[in-house]
Amino acid sequence: MRSSAKCYQFTKGDDDMYSAMTYPSIDIGKVLGKATKISSEEALKEIIPVDWSEQVLDGKYKGKSIIKAKDDEEA
């Protein structure tokens, strides 16, 4: 069975399509209702920033639709 997430093609302007189709939203109110507030200092103390390539970090793809389907294995 093909995974819809891996086989979709995506072009600029198709933003709503992928979002509505596959990614369910979470109930933020419910989540925050049982969460504890912490400071960003505490939150970030053990976080190591992800080491993206310079091109990615410099925003080369800023604002562009860069979601790509994986090279296929057609089912």
Partner: protein
């Protein structure tokens, strides 16, 4: 503009009122909300790298129940780094997009996103937290 499942890089993350380096997040919600009188319209989990770290470090980090590992094959990024890391699934950063300097670099695949949602369902409430330091207080003057 960003959407659920997107990976974003935030350039102006604040810690103690000071700007720090760039951090990556997974977008979970773009719905408007308010908490403690602060408005937000973006909710994210932060990503952390495990690259270059030994097995003991990885084991320690992943022993925390709120840390969900991911493999580099579970992102879609052009020129992506192909390295492993984890997502702080139990920690919710609240942002106001108007005040945020960020850009979208890709997205997590649907399988990972669903795993993320599921992961949180099984967390104890003591392992779930939120951060509002990046929200601006509205002062009535």
């Amino acid at each position: 503009m960003c959407k659920i499942g997107d990976i974003i890089v935030v350039k102006n993350c604040k810690v103690g009122g000071q700007l720090i380096g760039r951090h990556s997040f997974v977008v979970l919600s773009t719905e408007k909300g308010e908490i403690e009188g602060l408005s937000f319209d973006l909710v994210c989990n932060i990503m952390s790298s495990l690259e270059g770290k030994g097995e003991e470090y990885k084991r320690k980090k992943l022993s925390f129940p709120e840390n969900m590992p991911y493999s580099p094959t579970e992102e879609n990024i052009i020129n992506g780094h192909g390295k492993e890391g984890f997502i702080k699934a139990g920690m919710y950063f609240l942002f106001d997009k108007k005040e945020l300097d960020f850009y979208v670099i890709g997205n997590v695949e649907i399988d990972l996103y669903l795993k993320l949602l599921d992961f949180v369902q099984n967390l104890d409430t003591k392992d779930i937290s939120y951060i509002v330091d990046n929200l601006k207080e509205k002062r009535a003057e």
